[in-house]
């Protein structure tokens, strides 16, 4: 069973009275523990597709199954629970909570989403901080960190709940090249260590090369351009 199965997925937005297609008849599958990139120019639909896979949005038509769940059937609360259970997010702007320390930012999903016991939370946070090599910054606040350190914290926060799928929308867009590569390497290592699927979007050609499978989006069409069974 694939982790993500999209069949004839369409997404259209209403702009006034005009229907604007964002995703057209997307058919693809993503297996567990894959390292996948969605690439394409701005406005090609990368974020829309990631939002739908992340249960933040619903397809207009078609079927989209994530972790064997048809996400179009989930209501607001069920979608939130599903995200908290199975999906982690990494954002372009890091989106760390400024009033929380590094350790507390990583701990946050365990506290507010999964309700772990304090001892287990502490243990898991320490494990993740060690994994992303940020333990020495545990008590610092986000505004005391560099961009790369912030994104490491974001990676740890995404992984902390044992998420099966990590979605990263332009995770390196606000980083310099060296740091960007290090973050991509870190994500790949985390995939290897934790067997977690990473899907990230980018329009940086050097970064996209790191992906094992690439789906290219153009005018809402999703075409596999790298990886097993590509249609290139």
């Amino acid at each position: 069973m694939s982790l993500v199965e999209a069949s004839q997925v369409e997404k259209t937005y209403l702009s006034g009275e005009i229907q604007v297609p964002a995703i057209r008849s997307a058919d693809f599958t993503i297996e567990a523990a894959s390292f996948v990139s969605f690439v394409g120019p701005s406005g090609s639909g990368k974020s829309t597709l990631l939002n739908m896979i992340g249960c933040l949005d619903r397809p207009t038509s078609g079927s989209l199954k994530v972790v064997d769940t048809d996400i179009s059937q989930l209501d607001r609360n069920a979608a939130a629970k599903f995200r908290g259970q199975h999906i982690g997010f990494i954002f372009q702007d890091f989106n760390l909570i400024p009033v929380l320390t590094v350790a507390e930012n990583i701990e946050y999903p365990l506290l507010m989403v999964q309700n772990w016991s304090p001892e287990k939370r502490q243990e898991r946070v320490k494990e993740l901080m060690d994994a992303v090599d940020i333990s020495d910054q545990a008590n610092k606040y986000p505004d005391q960190l560099s961009g790369g350190q912030k994104q490491r914290v974001a990676v740890a926060r995404a992984l902390v709940t044992h998420a099966k799928l990590i979605l990263a929308d332009e995770p390196t867009a606000n980083l310099d090249h060296d740091t960007a590569y290090r973050i991509i390497d870190l994500m790949k290592k985390m995939r290897d260590d934790y067997n977690t699927t990473f899907i990230f979007s980018t329009h940086d050609t050097k970064i996209m090369d790191a992906a094992e499978i690439i789906y290219t989006l153009e005018d809402g069409q999703v075409i596999q351009t790298k990886g097993a069974g590509n249609h290139e």
Binding site: L56, F89, D93, N95, I97, P98, V99, M112, V113
Partner: protein
């Protein structure tokens, strides 16, 4: 849960100046309310205590029609002995009555043999009167204040003592007309001078009830009024109801009710001032609620607006809408709690300072009244609960808005 409170507290500290200003506003509101309640409430309690404990009692019973003619002190509307017996029988079956005192009220001419003036007098049984109005003896500002009255002696009001230059030990004569129109005069010794207080009867003199009967040539035990003291003044309404029910059944020869029962509030104009104080207290409470509601709602609306992306982030992570709501409501709760604690602390300290300062003030013709503000635990709990509850209420709308945000829109917010 502790961690959630800590996160909420840190969110409040994120905007220190705004949080400080809002807390200050709530604190000022709490202080204003508690100080007003303590000073106005204490003034009201002091005045009501003075009126009931030294003059009117908690309630009074008269023959029907007496109160509307009380200015002329009509002897023709006195209660006959058999009526008094009926009242006594009702008292025996009514719970909550601590003491009662019969009075004969009369008007007389008061003369020091050089000058003459009119005087209103209460003929009382000293023991029963003291049991019913225990503070009366404290109003004796000149003369023997160890006991209330002895036969042949009278207590005169301060105004007459000053006006006619009469002092304790002086001999005076009282001349009164009885209900048949005949005039009688008797010599008395001034036992003491009574401090005048506000309200009806506040400038009356006192004499022994036997002397009053002798002066008015009353042979039987008829009286003008019965003054009643209750065990618990708060049970006035219920006791009035019971007495009205019981005594209402007693009718005169015309088949009309023979008695009328009035609480102190119907006999003293101070009750209107007391009502005004209650109204102003309510107004201050409404002001407090408004201050808290507007300030907390304002600060929470701003907090939600400034943290839209953050709300999108935590929603994307899977935080349930109910948990997002809880996070913001706790922030409002903490704001209210902080304001309530600071406001209460400042109020209590200020009240203690005012108590030590013993500030005096005048009310009507009374001077030298000491302002002694008191605050009850109930008032503090009430103010704190109101502030915290309104703070939670005020943060609900912004918190609800935050919890209903679409994560995608929130994440896109710049």
């Amino acid at each position: 849960m502790n961690r959630v409170f800590r996160i909420a507290a840190r969110n409040l500290l994120r905007y220190r100046r705004r949080t400080a200003l809002t807390t200050l506003l709530i604190t000022i509101g709490v202080v204003a309310m508690l100080l007003f309640v303590s000073t106005a409430g204490s003034f009201k309690a002091m005045m009501v205590g003075q009126i009931t404990d030294s003059m009117l009692g908690h309630l009074q019973i008269h023959k029907k029609g007496y109160v509307s003619s009380i200015e002329s002190l009509p002897l023709t509307l006195n209660m006959k002995p058999e009526m008094v017996e009926k009242v006594e029988a009702v008292f025996a079956s009514t719970k909550g009555i601590e003491a009662w005192s019969p009075r004969i009220k009369l008007g007389a001419m008061f003369s020091n043999f050089a000058q003459t003036t009119s005087i209103r007098l209460n003929g009382v049984d000293p023991e029963k009167e003291l049991a019913t109005c225990p503070e009366l003896i404290k109003r004796i500002i000149q003369g023997d204040s160890d006991k209330l009255l002895e036969p042949g002696k009278i207590l005169i009001p301060e105004l007459i003592a000053k006006g006619l230059k009469v002092k304790p030990g002086d001999s005076v004569v009282l001349v009164a007309t009885n209900k048949d129109g005949s005039v009688n005069g008797i010599n008395f010794i001034v036992q003491g001078v009574l401090e005048g207080i506000s309200g009806p009867g506040g400038r009356d003199g006192y004499m022994h009830i036997d002397d009053a009967r002798q002066l008015l040539r009353i042979d039987d035990t008829e009286i003008s009024e019965i003054v009643v003291r209750l065990n618990n003044p708060k049970s006035l309404k219920q006791t009035l109801q019971k007495l009205n029910n019981s005594l209402g059944e007693v009718t005169n020869q015309k088949g009309q009710p023979a008695f009328e029962v009035h609480g102190w509030d119907k006999l003293s104009p101070f009750s209107n001032i007391a009502k005004m104080i209650d109204l102003m207290t309510l107004f201050i409470k409404v002001m407090l609620v408004s201050i808290v509601l507007i300030s907390v709602m304002n600060v929470m609306i701003m907090a939600v607006y400034e943290r839209i992306r953050e709300i999108g982030t935590i929603a994307a992570m899977g935080t349930l809408p109910s948990n997002i709501l809880k996070l913001f409501v706790i922030e409002g709760f903490l704001l209210g709690l902080l304001g309530a604690i600071l406001g209460t602390a400042i109020s209590v300290v200020t009240i203690l300072i005012l108590q030590q300062a013993e500030i005096t003030f005048s009310f009507g013709r009374q001077t030298g009244l000491v302002l002694y503000p008191l605050i009850s635990i109930n008032d503090i709990v009430f103010a704190s609960v109101i502030v915290v509850a309104v703070s939670v209420l005020a943060s609900l709308q912004p918190a609800w808005k935050a919890s209903r945000m679409d994560p995608i829109d929130a994440l896109r917010h710049v």
